[in-house]
């Protein structure tokens, strides 16, 4: 890269360049370096994904064909076949997808309700024990959920909830980050909007449902994306509490195809991984602003 653009030393030694030209060349050099880095990192992220997707359209015989010896065809489905997809759907991968969509939908709807109510109380209502209860919320998301997976498993087992929907759903409904997010959002609603209906005799429930929630779509979307991604990408918890095939979720299904078989079902591993990652990627791209805003809120203002 250094050969392409003259440095200060070159100009000092012989070529007398106008200062404006030097500035322009420097700027150009900086751009070239930046774009090289940006593109290299984009390749590091996109090529493995392209390879997984391309390989999911191969068969057991052709899956490694373009890797050894290596060719660019490894990243493009040149002779696409759906064999691998047929195979995983015969193993009930479709049920795992449906199960996870159902789990995600219930968690999003109930989780938003639970989180928004709590966030509203923390942002707008006065009551005794507020600081203590809020500390309880903040502390809950500073402790990673997976840390207590094993004692949580003991609890859910003792409740008789192993291999049940409630065992998969209920422990994930209250999410500290989501509560925090709603509290931040509700705290910024202008006081007048809330005072006016209160003076007219509206209850807090009416204010919450008719005034606050309808103008809180951004927070609702952020919370929804966070809750859905959390359920879709959850692995450790469903692996422990719901081993039954009827309740299998997508991440566990991927891992079973991936590691718990005697033979290596390469092409099926690629196909199931493709489906497991495509859903959240397609979700996050249109909502990236909300997702990023949501996770950042937990860290920066906290």
């Amino acid at each position: 890269m250094h050969q392409d653009s003259p440095s200060d030393h070159d100009s000092a030694r012989g070529f007398r360049l106008e200062p404006a030209t030097i500035t322009r060349l420097r700027k150009w050099r900086r751009y070239a370096l930046l774009y090289c880095l940006l593109i290299a990192l984009a390749i590091l992220i996109l090529l493995p994904i392209a390879w997984i997707i391309a390989s999911s359209f191969t068969t057991r015989e052709t899956v490694w064909k373009n890797v050894l010896p290596f060719s660019w065809r490894a990243f493009f489905p040149t002779e696409p076949t759906l064999d691998a997809y047929h195979a995983i759907f015969e193993k009930d991968f479709g049920r795992a997808l449906l199960n996870t969509f159902f789990l995600g939908a219930v968690t999003v709807v109930v989780g938003i309700a639970v989180g928004a109510m709590a966030g509203f109380a923390f942002a707008r209502l006065q009551f005794r024990g507020k600081n203590l209860l809020f500390a309880l919320v903040v502390f809950s998301f500073m402790i990673p959920g997976d840390l207590t997976v094993i004692p949580s498993f003991v609890l859910v087992r003792d409740l008789g909830w192993l291999n049940t929907w409630q065992g998969l759903i209920v422990p994930g409904l209250a999410n500290g980050i989501v509560i925090f997010l709603f509290r931040q959002f509700f705290a910024e609603i202008p006081q007048d909007l809330i005072d006016a209906p209160r003076v007219d005799g509206a209850t807090w429930t009416q204010v919450f449902l008719r005034i606050v929630l309808p103008i809180s779509l951004p927070a609702v979307i952020s919370a929804g994306v966070i809750l859905f991604l959390g359920q879709w990408n959850n692995f450790f918890w469903p692996l422990l509490v719901a081993p039954t095939p009827e309740l299998r979720v997508v991440q566990v299904a991927v891992s079973i195809i991936g590691v718990e078989q005697q033979v290596s079902l390469w092409e099926q591993m690629f196909a199931s991984s493709t489906l497991a990652m495509l859903v959240p990627v397609l979700l996050i791209l249109p909502f990236q602003r909300y997702y990023v805003g949501g996770i950042l809120g937990s860290g920066l203002k906290g």
Binding site: L46, I49, F70, Q126, L136, I143, T148, V259, S273
Partner: protein
Amino acid sequence: MPRPDHHGAAMLTRVRIERWTPYMFLAPAILLLIVFRYIPILLGFEESLFTNALSQVGGRRFVGLDNFLLLYEDPVVWQSFQVTLVFSLVVNPLQVGLALLLAELINQRVPGIAVFRAIYLVPLAISINVTAIAWGLALDPNYGLINGVLRTLGLPRQPFLIHPSQALWSIIGIISWIGVPYWSLFFLAGLQGISSDVLESAHVDGASSLRTFISIKLPLLRRVIAFVLVTDTVTNFTLFAPVYLLTRGGPQLSTHLVMYEAWRRGLVYGDIGIASAIISVLVIVVIIFVAVEFIVLRPQH
């Protein structure tokens, strides 16, 4: 129960009812958090005082601190704590450092930067478990993509996940594929919060980009760095999926992270007591980390 038969009584009733309104709004969230987040922590401590190993006769019984003594004496448990320590000391500074650099990179105002930012978000949507499986395939010693590329470049084939000297590093690389872009978002937000006046005056004073980054931006980001370092560290203590899916703690226990050992003891050998003792040690370490973070990040008024 007072009847709202005239205006004053109605107001009084409303005030009385509304005293409970905040708690009704909070009840579902707080109850769920207590039952499913806080009780398990206590339950972990309680279970760590009992033994119920399948090998033991007589089922579950109280053993006091014996499980902790067993932890202390068990070479595999010790190994898992050591591996976790080395892993933590490498992965967290590495991810924080790279995430800072990535944030500085995507904070540059150049045409098309939004496209690159969107691309770097993609790994955040992918589960650690799919990432592990995908990179496990890419790092396969016989067929994998990376070895295919290495061979094309005339470089020797690498064992990656099947060699004790490379397996832990491979796992660190795999999880950083998600971790670095994720944490860089926090640093990017921090960088964007630095006032342009400060940076402008540094520029006028003739400070280079590197000098500005080290002497001005890094000190201003120290709260964010502290937050990310602690959160990343406690999150990585719970790393399980890549070990479970790719190495099963091996080869030669080189990737035997503590959460994998807890799972193996509790769920494979059915010894919830020992597993809970391991978790309890980890919970105490995490609480210390988080408490220190609370003190360091306490707003200074």
